[in-house]
Assembly symmetry: C3
């Protein structure tokens, strides 16, 4: 059986359960309450399995074929699916449960006690407050903040919910308890204080409804629709998902033609 | 006398004055111009007492029973009171003078030359510009920025002032020279260009007055007031402060009853 | 010939081309595809020449007399001019081409595939999206984001252009494809969706024109103009540039006097 490839300067607990074929970079620390799946690569200067303030019985589980970039800190007590990819200087606190294919950009900060679906992508510098519920194939762009306290500071925690395929553009805030519907689009620099219906576009502070996402055309003048984005944007997704999306797009096109 | 517990990979200057019972994590660097109080814990990959560009005669002083989390960088020339707690990837520059119980969240960046009272709490990713004056029991939520230059770039520095018990919600900017009164509440995603009176709530960009903080009720329909928050939110504060706040709340309740 | 001063804990590839008189701090990693100029100082816990996902034939080139502060990560495939200064926890990705005197503040994140002129300054926590074009003597203040995708997520990349001497104040977003004219001023907490003419001031979300930058006076009541800022603000610039700016200011003053 091949041994994990651990840099000689890394400090790795002998209690950590690390699959063979895992690679661990220089100056990285792996604590005891950790499970790392096959083929995962961990960069330099990371801290993996950092103790939670209230000790967790649960380990930090990192799925197979993941990539954790340098200077990232992941706490014990979280379960992260296969093919996780993080940027640099990322923090993921205890109680985070995420599906497969999660991407977390540089400087993002997941505060823990949250649930995230499959193939969700956070760009740089995203802040996910405790109690958030995020679906699958969601996009959170840079400097997006998901809040949770309706009258800060208080003991009340009203996490936000973001449904599948929704997109939150740069520097927008989701206020406590807000629900963002499937495929909805939050414009950049918005402050969302009310629930957003599926396929709706809202913009501004406070954010107001401005139309349907599925009415937005590409800027290239082709007349092609830019949303649902899954009909046209496929980079990095599974072939099976892409096939499903294309079939759905064809059905919709056929149905809209027959309507005419 | 017990020795400080210094990880074998840490690099600690022999000139640093470190109390016994201090703990210093792996790969952390402690420079010479540093004083660390009893019982303080410093995590991994930190740099403590980083040289200022203009060398400071003053050391970096970290009070007793503090916790500095990993990847944080604290400069010489700052005085930080007992029970300081920082998140990860925090920067505190020279000339910061803070009281006891300061909490500075992950990715926060205190630019130095500022004064901070006791028990003030900054959540993740807060930016405190040079020349800021922050009282005690203040709350700054994620992505709050305190600015200081009224016509950037210029040599004029007009720091902001935030009085005791004030709360600045997520992603709000305090513009240069602004004063935020005691117990005032700045709503999320606001841009504050004028002084805010005590107990006032302002929201928007530019922020406008929308009411009194003390009129805001809990969202649970109980009718209970959510502000002053110190009457109901006590997590992590000293028993003596909590007793004082509860007595004040009782006096106010009695007075408002006798008014009826 | 003097040797580079490499801390004994640093890990430096023998293939890296490092000028004598370079200093490399503790726990820093320098990969093979790297060229570092004379007199440059690299702090602790950095990763220099990080591999790009798509390997670059180009090395990371860091000019002479530069200062890279701790915990920064710079990728291969970027060319950065002399006297580069970074803060802490900075990320610069592949394909960044920058002139001399670039300053990049703490926590800033340059996503790569971008061009930056000379003496441009980014304060803390600035995000430069791929495809950005930034001139010389530009100022980007904290939490400014330069975006690039007009219908996120899509394969379309419409980078922004910021011309010489322009200033973008705190927490403003430049939307995809926007051009900011020479010497323009974007007020704090703005969302810029349209091109901004030279010397214009725009504010708000969406940002609207409010006047000419060159009409803004210092707040001190002196009546002196605050813009073009280069007529009065000179800290850290080259003497030759400052002389040129002062001569230009004199000519403009003479011309405006003769107009009267």
């Amino acid at each position: 059986m091949s041994e994990a490839s651990v840099h000689e300067t890394a400090i790795v607990s002998s209690a950590a359960r690390i699959a063979p074929s895992v690679s661990i970079g220089p100056y990285t620390i792996v604590h005891d309450n950790v499970v790392i799946g096959e083929g995962t690569v961990i960069g330099a200067h990371c801290e993996i399995g950092h103790r939670a303030s209230v000790r967790s019985a649960m380990p930090l589980t990192i799925g197979a074929e993941s990539l954790i970039r340098s200077h990232s800190v992941l706490y014990e007590g979280s379960t992260l699916g296969d093919r996780l990819v993080t940027g640099h200087h990322v923090t993921i606190r205890e109680g985070t449960v995420a599906g497969i294919g999660l991407q977390v950009g540089t400087l993002s900060d997941i505060q823990g006690d949250c649930v995230i679906g499959d193939y969700t992508r956070m760009h740089s510098n995203v802040h996910v407050g405790q109690g958030s519920t995020i679906g699958s194939f969601v996009w959170l762009f840079p400097y997006v903040v998901l809040t949770n306290d309706p009258h800060p500071p208080s003991e009340v925690r009203l996490g936000v919910t973001v449904h599948d395929y929704a997109v939150v553009a740069t520097m927008s805030v989701l206020l406590p308890g807000v629900r963002v519907g499937e495929g909805a689009l939050i414009g950049a620099h918005s402050s969302v204080s009310r629930d957003v219906a599926a396929d709706s576009v809202v913009v501004g502070s406070p954010a107001k409804f401005v139309g349907a996402a599925s009415d937005i055309a590409y800027r290239d003048g082709s007349g092609a629709k830019a949303y649902p984005w899954r009909y046209t944007f496929h980079r990095g997704y599974e072939e099976s998902d892409v096939r499903r999306w294309l079939a759905e797009a064809e059905r919709r096109a056929a149905s809209s033609t027959s309507d005419t």
